[in-house]
C-alpha cells in the first residue's frame, strides 16, 4: 500500500487511538498484571473480536444481530474439536471402553469417531474451518434474510432464534458435542502444553496480535467506500438501492465479516480458557456481546475493545467484591449507557476529552511561540487540562470517529420501518 493509501487508512488523529491501545495491551497490562489477571484480560479480548464485528454490522450497517454467540461458539467449538482429539489419544483414554475417542462420546456409548470429527485431526483444516464454516452459515442466514429485505427488529429476533436452536442442538446432541458440559480438559496444541504460565503469555500476545489484525481489517472496511455505503444504507436504504447498488450483498458481506471476527475470537477463547461451553453460544451471551459494543460506542472499533474490557473487568471485580449485588451495578450500567451515553466510551471521549486535548495542544503551541501572550484564562484551562489529562492517561479513552457527522436521532431510522414513520 502506498503511503497515501496508508495515510487515508489511518489518519493522524486516529493513529493515536491505535497507538494508545497497542501500548496498553502490549506493554502496560502485561507489566502491571500477574498472569492470572492477564489471562483474564486475554479472555475479555476474545469478546472484543465480536464487539468489533458488531460495530461494523450494527453501528455502520444498522444490522443488529442477537446471535453473534452462534459464531463465537462455532469458532470455539471447532477449535475445541481439534484440541479435544489431541487430548484423547489412545494412551490417556485407555480406561474408556473405546480408547482414542473423546471421553464424552464414550459416556454416550459412541464407539467410533463420527465422520465429521475425523478431519479435525488436521490443524490446517481446523483453522480453515474456523474461518469458513461461520462464514458460510452467516452467508446462508444473511442471504436468506437480506435478499428478502428483512431487517431491524425482525433480523434481531431471528438471529436470537438461531442462537436458541444451536444451544438446544449442542446440549441435546451430547454424544457429539459434549452437551451442557461443553468440551473440557483441553491440554495441548500440537504437543505444546497450553496450560502453563508461559503458554498463557504467548497466547495472550497472539490474541493481541490477532486483535490488531482484525482492527486493521475493520478499519479498512470502515474507511473504504464500503464503509460509507454502509452508513448510507443505514440512513436511507432505499436511496442507496435506487442509486443502483445491490444493498443486500453489502449487508451480507458485513454480516459475514462480523461472523468471521466472532469465530476467531471464539477460537482464541478456547485456546486461552482451555474449554468451550454452550453457555457462550446462547441468547444471553449474544446480548451481552452487543452490550460490550454499545458500552464502547457502537461507531468506534477501538471503543469496542475498551467496551469489552471495561464491562468484563467490572463484572469480575464487582462479583468478587459484591457477590450479592453486582447484577444491580451491571444492569444499571447498561441502562445508563443507553440512556445517558448512547455513543458509549467513544462518545464520552469525543465530547469531553478530545476538545481538552485540542486546547492543550494549542496552548503548547502558543507557549512555544510567545510565552508572554498566554493569558491567565488560558493558563487556567491549561492546568485544568493537565489534571484531565492525568486522568485520561490512567485509563486511556478511545479515539472518536465519524459520529459527529450523523445526527443522533437518525440512527435507527432503518429499523423503525412501518412502526413509527
Amino acid at each position: 500500500m502506498s503511503y497515501q493509501g496508508l495515510a487515508s487508512l489511518l489518519p493522524k488523529k486516529e493513529i493515536f487511538g491505535f497507538l494508545v491501545l497497542g501500548l496498553l495491551l502490549v506493554l502496560v497490562l502485561p507489566l502491571t498484571l500477574d498472569i492470572f489477571r492477564l489471562n483474564l484480560i486475554g479472555k475479555y479480548l476474545t469478546y472484543a473480536f465480536v464487539a468489533i464485528g458488531l460495530v461494523l454490522c450494527w453501528g455502520y450497517g444498522g444490522i443488529l444481530s442477537l446471535g453473534q454467540g452462534v459464531f463465537f461458539g462455532l469458532g470455539g467449538y471447532l477449535m475445541a474439536m481439534f484440541l479435544k482429539l489431541e487430548a484423547s489419544d489412545p494412551i490417556t483414554t485407555k480406561i474408556q471402553s473405546t480408547p482414542g475417542i473423546p471421553d464424552f462420546m464414550d459416556w454416550n456409548q459412541i464407539t467410533a469417531l463420527p465422520f465429521f470429527w475425523k478431519p479435525f485431526y488436521s490443524l490446517p483444516f481446523t483453522l480453515a474451518a474456523i474461518i469458513v464454516v461461520p462464514g458460510i452459515i452467516a452467508y446462508v442466514v444473511g442471504a436468506a434474510m437480506f435478499k428478502r429485505r428483512v431487517g431491524g427488529v425482525y433480523f434481531a429476533i431471528i438471529t436470537q432464534a438461531v442462537a436458541a436452536i444451536l444451544t438446544i442442538l449442542i446440549i441435546g446432541q451430547q454424544g457429539y458435542t459434549g452437551g451442557v458440559n461443553g468440551m473440557t480438559d483441553l491440554r495441548t496444541l500440537q504437543g505444546w502444553d497450553i496450560r502453563t504460565d508461559q503458554a498463557k503469555y504467548i497466547l495472550y500476545f497472539f490474541c493481541v496480535f490477532m486483535l490488531f489484525i482484525c482492527l486493521l481489517v475493520a478499519q479498512f472496511i470502515r474507511k473504504s467506500k464500503l464503509g460509507r455505503l454502509l452508513v448510507a444504507m443505514r440512513e436511507k436504504e432505499d436511496r442507496v438501492r435506487f442509486s443502483g447498488y445491490d444493498v443486500s450483498s453489502f449487508k451480507i458481506f458485513v454480516f459475514c465479516a462480523a461472523a468471521v471476527f466472532a469465530a476467531i475470537g471464539g477460537a482464541l477463547f478456547t485456546l486461552q480458557v482451555g474449554f468451550m461451553s454452550p453457555t457462550l453460544v446462547g441468547i444471553v451471551p449474544s446480548i451481552e456481546m452487543v452490550i460490550f459494543c454499545a458500552v464502547g460506542g457502537r461507531m468506534s472499533i477501538i471503543g469496542a475493545v475498551y467496551g469489552a474490557l471495561l464491562v468484563n473487568w467490572s463484572k469480575s471485580i464487582l462479583s468478587e467484591n459484591f457477590p450479592e449485588l453486582w447484577l444491580f451495578a451491571l444492569g444499571g450500567l447498561f441502562i445508563a449507557v443507553v440512556m445517558a451515553f448512547p455513543d458509549g466510551l467513544a462518545g464520552l471521549y469525543t465530547t469531553y476529552v478530545a476538545p481538552r486535548f485540542k486546547i492543550w495542544f494549542a496552548a503548547i503551541k502558543n507557549v512555544g511561540k510567545t510565552k508572554l501572550e498566554v493569558n491567565a484564562e488560558q493558563q487556567n484551562t491549561h492546568t485544568k487540562q493537565r489534571e484531565e489529562n492525568q486522568i485520561a492517561t490512567e485509563k486511556p479513552k478511545p479515539m472518536k470517529v465519524t459520529i459527529t457527522d450523523i445526527p443522533q436521532q437518525n440512527i435507527p431510522s432503518i429499523t423503525q420501518g412501518a412502526l413509527h414513520e
Binding site: A161, G172, F328, V338, Q416
Partner: protein, 308 residues
C-alpha cells in the same frame, strides 16, 4: 407405534393430545399478548417481559400468603384477587418504566432492547434480594387443582381449562379495547401514522404510556396464571422470553389476530411433535420451522398494511 393400543385408547389419547395443544396455545397467547401490544403497537422490544410476568407470580405468592394468614376462609377465591393485583402491580411498574426510560428511547427501538435487558437484570436481582434465591411455592386453592373426568380415560386438567378461559377472556377484552373503544382507535391511529395522529389532537405520549402499562399488566396476569403450571423464582421469567418473541414476530408484529394465529400454529406443531419424538428434537424442529417460514415470509403471518 399405535398397533398395540385399542381404539378407545387411541381416541382418548388423541382427544387429550388435542387439549394439551390447546393448553399450550393458551399459554402462548397469554405470554405473547402483552408483548404483542408493546412490541407490535409501539415497536419497543421489552426484554424484561419475562420479569414482568414473574412480578405477577410473586404478587400471587404474596396474596396467597396474606390470605392463608389473615383470611383463611376466603382462600378459595384469592386467586381472582391475586390476578387483579398482579395486573395493577405489573401495570404500575410498566407505567413507571415507560416514564423513566422507554419514552426517551422511542426513536431508537433497538436501544430499548439493551436498556430493558439491563432492567431485567436489576429486576431479577431485586426478586432475589427480596424473596430469596430459592423458588417459592404458590399454594393454589383446591378447586384449581386436579382434573375433570370426561370419560374413563379422558381427563382434562382444571388449571389448563382455567388458562384457556383466561386466554380467551383477555384476548376478547383486548380485542374489544383495540377495535371497539375510543382508546383503541387512538392506539391504532398512532401505530399507523404517529405525526398525523398527533396532528389531529391525540396525545401520543399518553397513548404510549397506557399501552405500555397495559402490555405489562397483561404480562403480570399471565405470570399470575402461570403459577399454576410453572415455577416462580427470580430467573423463571427467562424461560419464556424466546418463545414469546417468536410467537409475536411469527404472527407479524402489528396484528393481534396474527399473534393468535401464530401462537396456534407454533403450539400445535410443538405439541404434536413432542408426542412423536423426544422433547429436545421437537423444540429444535419447531424453532427451525418458524425461522424457515420467517425467511420466506419475513413480515410474519399477518401484517398491517401501512404507508411508508
Amino acid at each position: 407405534m399405535f398397533a398395540e393400543y385399542s381404539t378407545s385408547d387411541l381416541i382418548s389419547i388423541f382427544a387429550m393430545q388435542g387439549v394439551a395443544g390447546l393448553i399450550l396455545f393458551s399459554v402462548f397467547v397469554l405470554m405473547a399478548l402483552g408483548l404483542a401490544i408493546i412490541f407490535g403497537q409501539m415497536g419497543v422490544i421489552n426484554m424484561a417481559h419475562g420479569e414482568f410476568m414473574i412480578l405477577g407470580a410473586y404478587v400471587t405468592y404474596l396474596t396467597s400468603h396474606l390470605f392463608s394468614t389473615y383470611l383463611p376462609g376466603f382462600f378459595s377465591v384469592y386467586f381472582i384477587l391475586a390476578m387483579i393485583l398482579a395486573f395493577i402491580a405489573a401495570g404500575a411498574l410498566g407505567a413507571l418504566v415507560e416514564w423513566a426510560m422507554i419514552r426517551h428511547l422511542y426513536h431508537r427501538p433497538l436501544d430499548t432492547l439493551l436498556a430493558t435487558w439491563g432492567l431485567s437484570l436489576i429486576l431479577q436481582q431485586t426478586y432475589r434480594s427480596v424473596f430469596g434465591a430459592r423458588e417459592v411455592g404458590v399454594t393454589l386453592p383446591d378447586w384449581l387443582m386436579g382434573s375433570v373426568k370426561i370419560t374413563e380415560t379422558i381427563e382434562l386438567p382444571i388449571n389448563g381449562l382455567f388458562v384457556m378461559c383466561l386466554a380467551l377472556g383477555i384476548s376478547t377484552a383486548v380485542g374489544i379495547l383495540m377495535y371497539r373503544s375510543r382508546w383503541g382507535i387512538q392506539v391504532r391511529a398512532v401505530v399507523q401514522n404517529r405525526p398525523m395522529a398527533g396532528a389531529v389532537g391525540i396525545n401520543t405520549a399518553r397513548v404510549d404510556r397506557i399501552t405500555f402499562a397495559l402490555g405489562c399488566g397483561i404480562a403480570g396476569v399471565a405470570g399470575s396464571a402461570f403459577t399454576m403450571i410453572g415455577s416462580t423464582g427470580p430467573t423463571s421469567g427467562q424461560l419464556y422470553i424466546v418463545d414469546t418473541f417468536l410467537v409475536v414476530v411469527f404472527g407479524g408484529a402489528t396484528s393481534l389476530l396474527g399473534t393468535i394465529a401464530s401462537a396456534f400454529s407454533i403450539s400445535q406443531a410443538q405439541s404434536t411433535m413432542e408426542f412423536f419424538m423426544s422433547g429436545s428434537m421437537a423444540k429444535v424442529l419447531t424453532l427451525l420451522f418458524v425461522v424457515l417460514i420467517l425467511m420466506v415470509r419475513p413480515q410474519g403471518l399477518f401484517t398491517l398494511k401501512v404507508r411508508r
